[in-house]
């Protein structure tokens, strides 16, 4: 569904994406992982057309994304930090997007709207919402139009445990519907249950892109975090980041 070829992007001196090649198909849940600033969000923004790549191409459903924005009607996007017009009310936001996407009422997916109980805050302006509530609005919007491709940038960050569970449940459901789901997250335990494939980025380079089962078999590990740790330790110093993650977990546990 999404094909990425030789994608390169440079911000001033920083090589944000360095020759990325990948193919994402429906039914896959792909975890994009890597340290901060490794290019995960840039890759997502390239797919959405918000960032223009220097070279290389991206094809969505066989069509290269180049000018024609219609492919974005297939995509539901949940940004890392949801920023919305301050004066707009929650209900207006949903109405406006419904108006723009022109989807019949019956095909809308209001599941998360109901579960997060967002209808009760429909007449609140966006600026009064807390970070977590904004995140819920972002999530509900991403799933609202029942898109074939879901792109979720740090979906569970800032959500309370209950809402986080609801969201994961929802992602699982969509996975069953044979959709393509791209997730970035630093909470590897969240990804463990959802993901089918793992793509690891570092300093803009794709270090590996593998099926989760293959990854686990190769490393003889049960957990995603440990599997990545062991593969990175294969003589590479890039493993520092994952070491830190695991060390942090250990300290949390011992405390």
């Amino acid at each position: 569904m999404i094909r990425i070829e030789n994608l390169k992007k440079k911000f001033k001196k920083l090589q944000a994406l360095d020759d990325i090649n990948a193919f994402f198909n429906q039914g896959q849940v792909i975890s994009l992982i890597g340290p901060n600033g490794s290019g995960k969000t840039t890759l997502i923004k390239c797919i959405l057309g918000m960032v223009r790549a220097d070279s290389g191409s991206i094809h969505v459903n066989g069509k290269q994304i180049n000018g024609d924005p219609s492919y974005r009607s297939q995509i539901g996007y949940m940004p890392q930090i949801g920023r919305y017009p301050d004066n707009m009310k929650v209900g207006q936001l949903f109405r406006m997007l419904k108006n723009i996407r022109k989807m019949p009422e019956t095909e809308l997916d209001t599941d998360l709207l109901v579960k997060f109980n967002l209808v009760s805050i429909f007449d609140k302006p966006m600026r009064t919402l807390s970070g977590g509530t904004r995140q819920k609005v972002s999530a509900a919007l991403a799933f609202y139009f029942n898109p074939a491709i879901l792109i979720l940038d740090e979906p569970t960050a800032g959500l309370d445990p209950l809402s986080s569970e609801i969201l994961k449940e929802k992602i699982m459901q969509e996975k069953q519907k044979n959709k393509l789901i791209l997730i970035t997250s630093h909470i590897l335990s969240d990804l463990d249950e959802l993901t089918t494939d793992v793509m690891y980025l570092q300093e803009g380079k794709m270090i590996f892109y593998k099926e989760l089962s293959v990854l686990k078999k190769e490393t003889n590990e049960e957990k995603l975090g440990k599997a990545i740790a062991s593969i990175m330790k294969g003589g590479k110093r890039e493993a520092l980041w994952i070491d830190e993650v695991l060390a942090l977990k250990e300290t949390v546990k011992t405390n």
Binding site: M50, D68, S73
Partner: protein
Amino acid sequence: MLKLSRYVLYDILRSKVVLAYTLFLFIVSFSLFQLEENDSKAILSLLTIVLIVVPLISMIFTTIHYYNSYEFIELMLSQPLSRTRILLSEYAGVALSLLSAFFIGIGIPVLFFAFDGTGLALLFTGGALTLVFISIAFLASVKARDKARGIGAALLLWFYFALIYDGLVLLILFAFSDYPMEKFTLLLSALNPIDLGRIFIMLKMDISALMGYTGALYKDFFGSGTGVFFTLGIMLLWITLPLLWAIRVFKRKDL
């Protein structure tokens, strides 16, 4: 496109700045017509407002509006909408609100007290200048990286067109006063929409008789049909070229 502009307009009207602007223009022009016994004197005072205040407000308002609706633009970019359409909707929304403010605030008093060639020329110039400076402000804000730079650039441009340019023209005229400069100054006036507007209105008034030989030549030129078309054409260029440039920059921008 109008669908998006509706939301832009709604957002602008909520902030009430445009209402204050309308009221300001209305009170100023109404009281000028009341104070001055001679209506053409009032028009002359109004001319200063139209040439100085209207461009300034148009530029500052547009720049601030652009940065305030950055979230809205971001949100729209993840939807199936083209960048051109997003920017043009923003333009249409701002233009519609500022133009109506101008035509209500100055248009109604002028039509009431001085409904003649000069009055209509004033309204035409004011409307055109509003659109021109909205275009230039869009270009400045799309090119600038942050709010401070954007507003700074807008202010500088306004300074240039409203004050510095005249100084430069005077300098050139003094330096080359031995040569016939009439045709050349005609060209110079086309390079500044404020100057063009000023000459266009002045020549509709009686005082143009005081302007000597150059004035006579101008009167000959601007009084004829070609002159009107010339002004109209140059103003149109001043509206479309910066806007097209802004769209070009916006299309290639990383957001």
